[in-house]
Symmetry: C2
Subunit: 253 residues, 2 copies
């Protein structure tokens, strides 16, 4: 827990928050904080700031909170992910928030078993708790948004992606690499990777891959298909690998 | 299982292997292979090839194996990893093999609990089984080598790294990024990233980080310290992120 996340409803009118759950335990037992100590805090979906410990008791901690003026920007990458086996997705939620994802679209696909969707891990109560865990690890405040898309075709057709500048789809059939897709988007720029103004949507398929029909549908909707090289990775490893590579891209000027 | 790995001792004089474990089950139940079908196979630490199904019974599968002439090169990245909590490392073994790592040095560090080393997951029988799982996923044959280093200082001093061209250490104190470290190693080259001839050694610290003393020791032994940006990642996420970013580097010319 590298940042203590506080929700707006936990703040009273004087800017104080009284914590009585695992955050209080972390402040007492791991940080061994005494009254007067300042801690790195964040307001969920708001700015970061500092919390000064005012009172510590056996079951609660009171923090006087001060926040910066600006809320950090939402991460610029969205993820479209064919529903993995629930066991796999369960472990991924916290990592998505830690790596930084703006929106997550969990979709159906021909090679996704229907029963995968009958799971409690797709409930907001479940994934938001995991997101908060990942945000507190990575020192971010921006809670990813999740949409469950049980029917891919109408979803793509309705073009809900007006703020997306680049749509990329990972598939073994892709002949270009992720970086060839992003390189020199603007040929007039002297930089190798043109910083994108808009958002990137990254599509990742099911264990068995997208079908030819699905691939054509994505291409018809403006997705560029890229390959990940000869190694075939598990969905969870592939998601972490791709999000890290994309975050790197935005650091290359 | 995207490749069936066979060990040299499983091959008889005629180049046939009789499999009776989870590989046989995979061939029967997942691949639904019939006699005559050819499968993608690999010889552990040797070349890839094709296996033709000769016989299938309820408890075994016989493959006639043919291998290519050349063994794929060992992945060019080695990992020096401060011993994580055993639960975390347990999940990482297969991913290391899938992402491609040549050698793995599991080391002690001031912020590593001594009892972490008292675990069966550091036994070759345990990690090699996980490696084979990862190799079969990623279609590689090169088994990572593991060394357990309980005393970091003499290990670094003995300079066991004569084949290492670049030593990199991940730490929040690093002011340069991973890519600034690798960029223009040879300024005469017109390419942005000079392909390295030798190997890269990537160092990753414990959850609590390296101590100032340890950092100085690494620097004195030629390690360049780099930062990973403002997000603090869990050890397992960080390892996967860094290995993916490095594999990307070697694809950028």
């Amino acid at each position: 827990m590298n940042l203590i996340l506080i929700t707006p409803d936990e703040l009273d009118a004087t800017g104080r928050a009284q914590l009585a759950d695992n955050r209080a335990e972390h402040i007492r037992k791991v940080l061994r904080a005494e009254p007067g100590k300042t801690l790195r805090i964040g307001l969920l979906d708001g700015p970061v700031g500092t919390g000064t410990v005012e009172k510590i008791s056996e079951d609660s901690v009171t923090l006087a909170c001060e926040f910066e003026d600006d809320t950090p920007p939402r991460p610029a990458v969205d993820l479209l992910l064919a529903m993995p086996r629930p066991k796999v997705l369960k472990r991924l939620w916290a990592q998505f928030a830690a790596l930084g994802v703006g929106r997550i679209f969990i979709t159906n696909a021909e090679k996704v078993e229907r029963y995968y969707f009958d799971t409690h891990i797709l409930e907001p109560g479940f994934y938001n708790a995991r997101f908060i865990e990942g945000l507190q690890q990575a020192r971010d405040t921006r809670l990813p948004e999740v949409a469950i898309v049980k029917n891919l075709k109408p979803f793509l057709e309705n073009e809900l992606f007006s703020d997306i500048e680049e749509k990329l789809l990972a598939d073994p059939s892709g002949e270009r690499s992720l970086f060839q897709c992003l390189e020199n988007v603007d040929a007039m720029s002297s930089s190798r990777f043109q910083p994108l103004e808009g958002r990137i949507l990254l599509g990742v398929g099911p264990e068995g891959g997208w079908t030819p029909y699905e691939l054509e549908m994505f291409k018809a909707h403006g997705f560029e298909v890229f390959g990940m090289g000869p190694r075939i990775l598990r969905t969870d490893t592939a998601c972490i690998a791709l999000l890290s590579q994309l975050s790197l891209c935005s650091s290359l000027k």
